[in-house]
Subunit: 408 residues, 2 copies
Amino acid sequence: MKKYIVVQKYGGSSVANIERIRAVARRVVATKTGSNHLVVVVSALGDTTDELEAMALKLSRDPSDREMDMLMSTGEQISCALLAIAVKQCGHDAISFTGPQVGIKTDHSHTKARIETISGRRIRKALAENKIVIVAGYQGVTDENEITTLGRGGSDLTAVALAKALRARVCEIYTDVQGIYTTDPRIEPKAKKIKTITFEEMLEMASLGAQVMQARSIEVAKKYNIPIHVRSSFSKEEGTMIVKKNEKMEEIAVRGVTCNKSEAKITICAVPDQTGIAAKIFTDISKMDVNVDMIVQNVSHTKLTDISFTVLKSDLPKAIQAAKAVAQKIRAGEVLFDKRIARVSIVGSGMRSHHGIAAKMFQVLAENKINIDMISTSEISISCIISQRHAEKAVRALHQKFGLEALV
Amino acid sequence: MKKYIVVQKYGGSSVANIERIRAVARRVVATKTGSNHLVVVVSALGDTTDELEAMALKLSRDPSDREMDMLMSTGEQISCALLAIAVKQCGHDAISFTGPQVGIKTDHSHTKARIETISGRRIRKALAENKIVIVAGYQGVTDENEITTLGRGGSDLTAVALAKALRARVCEIYTDVQGIYTTDPRIEPKAKKIKTITFEEMLEMASLGAQVMQARSIEVAKKYNIPIHVRSSFSKEEGTMIVKKNEKMEEIAVRGVTCNKSEAKITICAVPDQTGIAAKIFTDISKMDVNVDMIVQNVSHTKLTDISFTVLKSDLPKAIQAAKAVAQKIRAGEVLFDKRIARVSIVGSGMRSHHGIAAKMFQVLAENKINIDMISTSEISISCIISQRHAEKAVRALHQKFGLEALV
């Protein structure tokens, strides 16, 4: 009988210390059966990545990306070797590999490399010898034998890409929460674990603030239709399945509510209302390597208009600088900014067929006397920028009014 | 003008923390001139290697050598990336490489691999771009892309082997002492730094207890006649040159005194004095993977003899077990052991042409009322096993009587 392959990924908190590594090893060995092969992807131990980064930043404010990859990739190499040792100790043969060793070839974009091909030859050979294969997440190698990393959360990507290359039956993402929730349980204790969610809903939730899985890895899973099971490494309960949309799934208008406080708002006032002025502004700002997210241009009654946009708080200083420069250039008015904002969003692929969802959202916020600063919508989400101090109240109210507490 | 190459190696204590890495970077950049190329080999930061090993041993009493190499090689990868970042910050372009990246090919003996070939192609390319090249010490790769390590002190070997492969003018070993001393300055404060020493003397001193450099790397340097400069990373003073013996060097009978407390003595009493009995004993003991060092068989007046030998203290329990088993088999008497011994040795290639050195040594010990347990000699050294509590006194007496305080 041909065995099926399961890829498991354990995050940094699951392997934060020796005792947890031992627990993961026991779990890995317990899930190995006569009819499956296991490939385990592991992140760096707990805070290793942050510690390594801090050391580099003490030596240089701007260390080269190439050297950072040399440095940061060691974290996962340590954890995969330790986990292999622990799995063997639990009585099953195991072997660890670095990303380069299993042929995870990437482009040359250090610190945010993209996977190009995966050979998987060594993995298949080790599986054929009935070994549990442990792979260092987050890393790859260029065709010139340079070590690369895949960006924060890159171990998820390693797991999904390996699941694709090895035609795994499922990719299990083990984390410190029970699965994907209708909203952040720290904000709303009545949040419910979602049993099944579609790739596109999960993508939207991840990009709007749900931090359980890296967005890029969900994109890859969606593209190749690789079922993902997000679950807790500390319990045996089923978690959340992320799958392709199928007919049997209930059409729920709103699957979840997210909240994101990482952005700040900038407004350029009294912008001359001319064709191409927005292009001019955002070309200049993007040259400063600032990622602009939501953009709103107020309806103009005069020849002057206000343009607001959001950026990551960490980019705020250079974004303000760029905005002031461009404002002067185009003879606009003053530049205002607000760091105390939150983006509250509702997500659900059922929105496409349900009407009045947006209106209901605005109404809920109005009932709670929460002022809306900016609005932005996608096909399956609606986001409102509101004052940060109302964020939790907004999340709880939306969660209740859209009936998410009742979901099973 | 063709530039000459200098290989520098910095040990773990030289890069123990961020401040020291910065100091090494400044030193590296200061020694780069218009007429040289620098290749810098670096060990793991301070206690990293011990910490990684301790983690593995918490997970398993007997972790596989292959996984230990995966784990331990990360220490040097971290330090070479950090040093490259620091050197760049000091204003000179630099690039770090792992052992595998520069093509240090080894055999498959994990944890104690032997270097087979070094390609050096990537190093030459980087040097041609006027970069300072930083190489992770202690590690290599097999033809199957398995990561190997070269054993404790392996970074010295990396440095010497690179110096050979790149035809470097000199291999500089930076350490936390000023060079090689006539004896351990912690025992005898009057110890003098040796200006020049031959490869064979250094080899003898290293194998007898001087811990400044790994013995294997001195062998390689001797084989390929690569001059080594052992010096302090904390000062600009010249250290000790290790070179091939040459005519200009003064013939000094005794170059240094060493002391080694890592061994224990085992005696098998009342061994039947038959041909081949020693072979029988030591074949059985070596099967237990015990490294036997000095062996002394007492002159036999009866048909029974005592055989004594020394082993590393760490091997003592299994050595005793093996000795007891073999004693029973050959119908010998009881097995005694003594952990409280020390080996005190004098080393000097001038011994070959000077007579009476051994006699003088025994006389010095006798004058100091120090009993000699065992004696062993090589062409250029004489070692005595004495009681551990007399070790320091013996070292100081020998150092004085052989006039080492007066050496310049």
